[in-house]
Symmetry: C2
Subunit: 316 residues, 2 copies
């Protein structure tokens, strides 16, 4: 379940645009108003506000915001205001262009999204960058990591619930044999993870656990700094238990000496309209601290206020 709180009665997109214009153009920017409006509108409503703003004031609302805001708050607002597919395209491009690329985001997009959501990200990527997501993934990576990331991001997977139980048992066995031999990057591992449907892979991972008494993720052990192994673990987690995976990303982002704002913002912004409530519960179950409390402790100012609003924090 989502955490985003959208009120039943809202101003019209034109009224919202006018309120936001005033908040941007007044004596100093009124961030509170920006948060109170945008932090309670869903993706479709935000889109209508952007359109209304552009029609009314002949200015791009996003550019306007960029010129008014700064720091982590600006980044979070920018990510929140974009269409989800477009936001993922931007985040993927940032990840790919970085000198020390963080591929977790790409794996999240490929493995947590439905095939049609992934397709929407690819289309948004075309329209922004005039290239395909796959060609940038393939040209920015090398070797085994390329093979895995390319397979995960390129395949248009079957989205149905039909699974083949015998195949699941067979491929669980294949995966176990290869993992036991530490042939983690064997083409069969990549083929199975990269092309089988989510439902089929969940069945396969269940068989793996039944057969071996250990989850596939925990079986992938080796050099903790090996980027391929880490990508493999992230992929299996994102397929098998995405909420648990995101709760873990949040724990790591918050537990660090110095918060990892990049990851914190990413998870809250991308999951607030989807399953952040479930992620919050898992976070609490594991840490005995509410996520709202942890975020409030680790952040401050407008950035904190926006995150708490998206977290649906009632006492905020």
């Amino acid at each position: 379940m989502a955490t985003l709180v959208v009120h039943e009665q809202n101003p019209s997109p034109v009224e919202d645009a006018e309120i936001l214009r005033k908040a941007c153009k007044g004596w100093g920017t009124d961030e509170k108003t920006i948060i109170s409006v945008l932090g309670h509108r869903n993706a479709y409503q935000r889109k209508l506000i952007r359109q209304a703003y552009e029609e009314l004031f002949q200015e791009d609302f996003i550019k306007q915001l960029e010129s008014e805001l700064s720091g982590e708050f600006e980044k979070a607002v920018y990510r929140w205001i974009l269409d989800p597919a477009d936001r993922d395209a931007v985040l993927a491009n940032v990840a790919l262009k970085s000198t020390t690329p963080d591929f977790r985001l790409l794996i999240e997009i490929a493995c947590v999204h439905s095939p049609d959501e992934l397709l929407a990200v690819k289309r948004a990527y075309f329209s922004r960058y005039k290239r395909s997501l796959e060609e940038d993934v393939a040209s920015q990576t090398r070797g085994d990591l390329r093979k895995l990331l390319f397979a995960l991001t390129s395949t248009y997977k079957y989205d149905g619930k039909e699974i083949n139980k015998n195949l699941a048992a067979l491929e669980a066995q294949v995966l176990h044999e290869l993992i036991k031999e530490e042939a983690f990057s064997h083409e069969e591992v990549i083929r199975i993870l990269g092309t089988r449907s989510k439902a089929q892979l969940v069945a396969t991972f269940n068989c793996f656990k039944d057969q071996q008494n250990i989850s596939i993720t925990k079986s992938v052990v080796g050099d903790p700094d090996d980027a391929f192994l880490e990508a493999l673990r992230v992929a299996t987690r994102c397929i098998y238990a995405p909420q648990k995976y995101f709760a873990k990303v949040l724990r790591n982002a918050i537990n660090k000496l110095g918060t990892d704002e990049e990851a914190l913002t990413r998870v809250i912004v991308t999951r607030a309209e989807k399953d952040l409530k479930d992620i919050k519960q898992l976070y609490y179950k594991r840490t005995s601290v509410s996520l709202d409390h942890a975020v409030a402790n680790d952040t401050s100012g407008n950035y904190q206020a926006l995150l708490l609003t998206l977290l649906g924090s009632e006492d905020h």
Copy 2:
């Protein structure tokens, strides 16, 4: 340009369905009528006829046809009557399940189709087989051939016209170096062919020709029975000059001792609504024999009559 002749004035789909019902249910099947109706209707009209037939008679028109017709004629009618994307899904599945798979069709679908046409084939594949095209490609192939076919069929390529000339020159050089070293299945060859857009690849192949005075296709030489090399040549031809490629497939299908009806039907049925007129011109240019004449010489009966109708043969 297409060869299919669709008259301006046609009976309604309901009238067509009634005419076809009579042709199927009369004293012996009236194949001439079936050809004269279906051979002059475009994909959308054929779809409406199928729907009207089912509504009127509570029977699946395709099953009805299968029970009435036989041999190469039946196969050709069956392929012609299906929606283009659905037909490609069926043909791809037949190719993948065969004990001696012919991968040319898969490469044609991946490299000649637009990205959105390929996507439509993938969706049709889901709905027929409850699996993705990519997972069947990956599980039915091995080694280098798998890598190439998987990359070609999985990527959702950028479909725009924008190209990067410097990149084309650079990657033409990369391709030349690898081909010179006979590293045909090097991951960079597969990355470039599998992920770059059609427009970008055409630019790259043009640079290759300018730099080396020989086309990339002609540079891929080696064991003529090597399936990977053949797939690589088919891919470059399908990307660079699809009509010329299809004209060659037809020459091979007709010139054989014993016609290759599989290939002959495939090219005529799949291109009749697209560019078969151009393919006919290229065929004539190369052989000094009209394709209609060659087909008339090599085939007979209702099969011949249907192919000639789809070829827009006027004297038929």
